[in-house]
């Protein structure tokens, strides 16, 4: 048990209306500032779990509490003000004319005045090395820049918790290094759902393994990634050394 959990997931299950079970009896805590990898084969329920944490889906059983607030209708605004999420496809997150407007979207929705929202957005883009591109449209940037801009949209609101869905998907080596470098420096609690075990090893001291909707391992990343037989049994690619 973590001393001050940012995430408390207890006995969570989720099934689609047709009855197809995606998650079964999943329980774990994540402490403040803790960096956790979430791995598993395709269809293991990683993205669904992230969606439950941010209240985009409701569990069919169990409870989810984020920053001490139960994730349920009526409290979602409070929950979302304390967390940031980066989706798998940055294009889903960047939809306004310029990067600075995309980054300012969250603060504006939280009631920050436009001038202050612009200042925060520009500062965040600058921090992630995108200061010169603030007025550029997302479709005029590279894949790596788009990823960093999507990250900026989540970080600008100073969240206590950051959820990332495949943050290095489709990136070249330079792009992956840039994202890994940024994530390692973050003070927030992180949950990184990914197939990229090299990223998990570089960023997350702790790893959760999901398979068939069940949490099959929760422990130190080095110990889990060292067990090639366990990884193979759960359809997870063994990392290259």
């Amino acid at each position: 048990m973590n001393p001050r959990p940012v995430i408390q997931v207890a006995g969570v299950a989720f099934a689609y209306p047709g009855g197809h079970a995606v998650l079964e009896d999943v329980s774990f805590d994540v402490g403040a500032g803790e960096r956790v990898g979430l791995v598993g084969p395709n269809g293991a329920g990683k993205s669904t779990l992230l969606h439950l944490l941010v209240g985009l889906e409701e569990p069919s059983a169990g409870t989810v509490v984020v920053a001490g607030i139960p994730v349920r209708p009526g409290r979602l605004e409070e929950v979302r003000a304390r967390m940031g999420m980066v989706f798998q496809d940055p294009d889903d997150q960047l939809f306004l004319p310029t990067l600075v407007e995309d980054v300012a979207f969250g603060p504006l929705n939280q009631g920050v005045a436009p001038a202050e929202a612009r200042r925060l957005a520009e500062a965040q883009l600058e921090l992630l090395g995108l200061g010169a591109m603030a007025e550029r449209a997302a479709h005029h940037t590279s894949g790596g820049e788009r990823r960093r801009a999507a990250l900026a949209t989540a970080l600008v609101s100073r969240p206590e918790l950051l959820l990332l869905d495949e943050p290095t998907d489709g990136l070249d080596a330079r792009g992956r290094h840039a994202i890994v470098g940024i994530l390692r420096e973050r003070p927030e609690a992180l949950v990184v759902a990914t197939h990229d075990l090299d990223v998990v090893r570089a960023v997350c001291p702790r790893t959760l393994v999901l398979d068939g909707g069940k949490l099959v391992a929760d422990g130190p990343t080095e110990r889990i990634l060292a067990d090639a037989a366990f990884l193979a049994r759960h359809g997870i690619r063994v990392p290259l050394d």
Partner: protein, 255 residues
Amino acid sequence: MGFHHLDHYAGTASPVTRTSPAARVVGAVGLALCASLVPPGAWTAMAAILALSLAVAVAARIPAGVLLVRASVPLGFLVLASAGVLVMAPGTGVAGLGPLSVTDRGVVLFASALGRGASAVVAGVVLVSTTPFPELVTALRELRLPRAVTSSLALAYRFLVVLGEDVARIRRAAQVRNGGRGRVARRHLAAGMAAAAFARSYDRSERVFRAMRVRGYGDAMPTLAYQRMDRASALRVASLLAVGATLVVAARVVP
């Protein structure tokens, strides 16, 4: 296709872009209203209001060619929609059109519809060419249009862009495989593209909407730099509409 596709002249420094978006909406709607109130056959007033709309387009620095291309589609619809009046209006026959007869009154009504419509279309083109859509939506909200309407407009526009991007992707994928060569193949391709684009865009729209909700989106699209209605904008639009209204009154009073 993107947000800057239509509002290409929003970033151009001009008296129009210095006018607040809400004032621009009032100006465009006001000019269209003035044009519609000019009696049929009042050619001088009609030409003057069209000249007023064109002057605003010139002030907005919209090139004539761009204005013509953008206005041609709505004007085309207008021609089709009003053509019936040529033969349906009672009056003296001036020309034969097969078994039908074009009447003198029909010609006046048709030309008047085009004259009034042209002013309204030019005013509309100036508005959408100089105002980014999110600002347009905020302007409509400032003018007290119901929030449900403005939010629907904002999301519809956003998802229209998504649809356009998906169609472009599918078309590229088909083109690299030499798809759509020949008229029949092109028709099949278009039908397939429409179905695929709809299915993909539905999924993508859901994902975009989820990403918006996670960042606190409620039912209002916020904008960073919105210029609220100020005294200078109000005066500029009031002067424009005063000229338009004077022309309407003159056309109605002076035979």
